[in-house]
Amino acid sequence: MKTLVIVSHPEYDNSMTESFLQQCQNDIDEVDWLVLDHLTNNYEFDVDKEKKRLIKYDRILFQFPMYWYSSPALLKKYEDDIFTRSFTYANEDGKLKGKELGIITTLGEPLKNYTVGGSEGFSINEILKPYQALAFKSGMKFIKPFMVDQFAYMTDDEKGKLLVDYRNYLTNKDINGFGSKQLWYLSQLKQLRSNLSSTKQAKLDIIIDYLQDNYDRLDEIKWELDMIKKEED
């Protein structure tokens, strides 16, 4: 699965959050990272080139800081220029059909404030509706958004969890399922193996076997339960 992260951030070069997220994924071959603020300095895009770029990916992610409940202007300009009717409309031979669209947004306020009755008054799901509508119109699957709130206040442990969750969001084919999450971890651990000493590799192999065994047992019990439920139905 190929993923494109399209970043829009007017202060990209000074953003600690963007720098951290960039480093979280810079070793992953299947993920490409496009910074719109580096792509243009006059708000103009090479439309054909960008269309050709987008069709290469299975998962397209818009990443931006929330500016007045929307993206920075440059991402909106990118949408307006590149997502033309013939390229986008699913019912008119659009080229994005079947791909996934996801939003990664960074928030200065705590995420808990984004709710009915909260100090922001609206949920993130409500605020992101225009992107969901774009996905709908283009026949893309809108995947659940990924929020990073108050990065500056995060502890190292929280940043570590963010790194793992972010990589998972970029590369896991099914971000909702626990089965898929287990397989994703197994593949990550196998990739890390070569960075360790031979003694540690042997230890890691035992852990990988243990996790795989748990995965198989869970799968087996789930199958048995499904059979029983079908009989009881």
């Binding site: 793992v164 626990f178 999450k181 890390l192 230890k203 243990y210 996790l211 047992r217 019990i221 789930k222």
Partner: protein, 58 residues
Amino acid sequence: METNKWLDQEINDLKKDETSFKLISILEGTKSLAAEQAKRLQQAQDELDGRTWSPDKW
């Protein structure tokens, strides 16, 4: 749970002297994954026992 104490210790051993934040974070996340596996295995086994021994089938 005993098994996860063993796993947590093994992961702590793997993390020792490592400097890569990516490596350390993924290893640390593995502890949570294993804990979730253990919880789900217990729940699934309990449900299986419950359904297998349902009084409806007596």
